[in-house]
Symmetry: C2
């Protein structure tokens, strides 16, 4: 049953990918534990990129529309998905959301997954890349304890670095563990709150958008 479910999801994910590829639209699936700061990171990322790029957001939440309201405040196209208790987004939910977005107008699409470091990693949505967000207050043991999401991800944003002086988070250890799980990971040390490290993250995103825009469709 679980395998069938994942296979069916894979198929719809491939269709979603074809849809965003046809528009040369870079799509990022943001995954983290609850409260790692995905929405704040998105707000600040949008503020940093919106003069150069046209951005859309699919907001996944279990019940509320709070995050979608925050993101709509940034003046970008937002579609809300409520999973009604579901612990992750799946490709079918994203397929519906894609229909509600002006895809041909967009350069960059973020999908903010449900706050959960376990289940979302198993469900591809049709994204180009998964990006994991890890806040320093969660502790530097989290990569080893929840490896799948970090294995699936292309990049990790280590967020809330402004709180480093008040935590036991061992940045070097965390980076080493992340690299041992996934040697190609791009790692960004960021404080979405005070802006530290946001520039490198935004430059990386712009480079990927550019790359996808240049890609020759097959």
């Amino acid at each position: 049953m679980a395998q069938e479910l994942l296979r069916a999801n894979e198929e719809i994910a491939r269709e979603n990918r074809a849809v965003v590829d046809a528009q040369k639209l870079l799509t990022i699936n943001l995954i983290s534990a609850p409260g790692a700061g995905k929405t704040t990171l998105l707000e600040k990322t949008i503020a940093g990129l919106k003069d150069d790029l046209s951005i859309g957001v699919i907001e996944g939440d279990i019940y509320t529309t709070r995050d979608a309201e925050r993101i709509a405040g940034q003046g970008v196209a937002v579609v809300q998905i409520n999973t009604s208790g579901g612990c992750h987004l799946d490709a079918r939910m994203v397929a519906t959301a894609l229909q509600a977005l002006p895809l041909n107008m967009l350069d960059l699409l973020f999908i903010e997954n449900v706050g959960n470091l376990v289940c979302p990693a198993e469900f591809h949505l049709g994204e180009d890349y998964k990006v994991a967000v890890l806040s320093v207050t969660e502790g530097s043991d989290k990569p080893a304890k929840y490896p799948l999401v970090f294995r699936e991800a292309q990049a990790v944003v280590i967020n809330k670095t402004d709180l480093l002086p008040y935590t036991d988070f061992a940045l070097d250890t965390a980076v080493k563990e992340l690299k041992s799980i996934n040697s190609i990971l791009e790692i960004f040390n960021v404080s979405a709150k005070n802006g530290a490290g946001m520039e490198a993250w935004c430059i990386w995103l712009k480079a990927l958008v550019h790359q996808k825009g240049q890609s020759v469709m097959q």
Copy 2:
């Protein structure tokens, strides 16, 4: 399928409950997001109670044994459950773990669930009470966004209060939202790290252990 699975789980949970009730053993299911500080809270709680109570711990983790090793350092009986990718403990896993513990020697049993604010809330394990742990760095919007766990819980430990000065966490708002979700919630503001608020939490646990010890079995 999901309903059948939950029903089958309920049945085993009732059997587990009968096992711990027969020993008048108070059993607490600790649930939180990854990194909210469940293990540190447990370490400090054990340190505060072990002169008065005999404590056992069932440690749920996806892959590692790191938390069980930390808890074993406290000199109490620990059994590790690895879910091998599973996003929550279920009653069957706990049934097996119960067989490995000297239940008749214990007064208080903690079950530390997998770090996940969504899925564990749906799976009763046979515990007397669920206790949710929420760290202030996760943000005060989390109760509204993940209501089920707070509805199911008997108490909430708001942890990492030592970081309150460095976050936007609105303690009054969080408490109001928690009470609106579940009016009977006991709420403890705690810093497991520096010990603030730990006494009230330990007193509450001791009172429940005493109450269960006095209970007349039916």
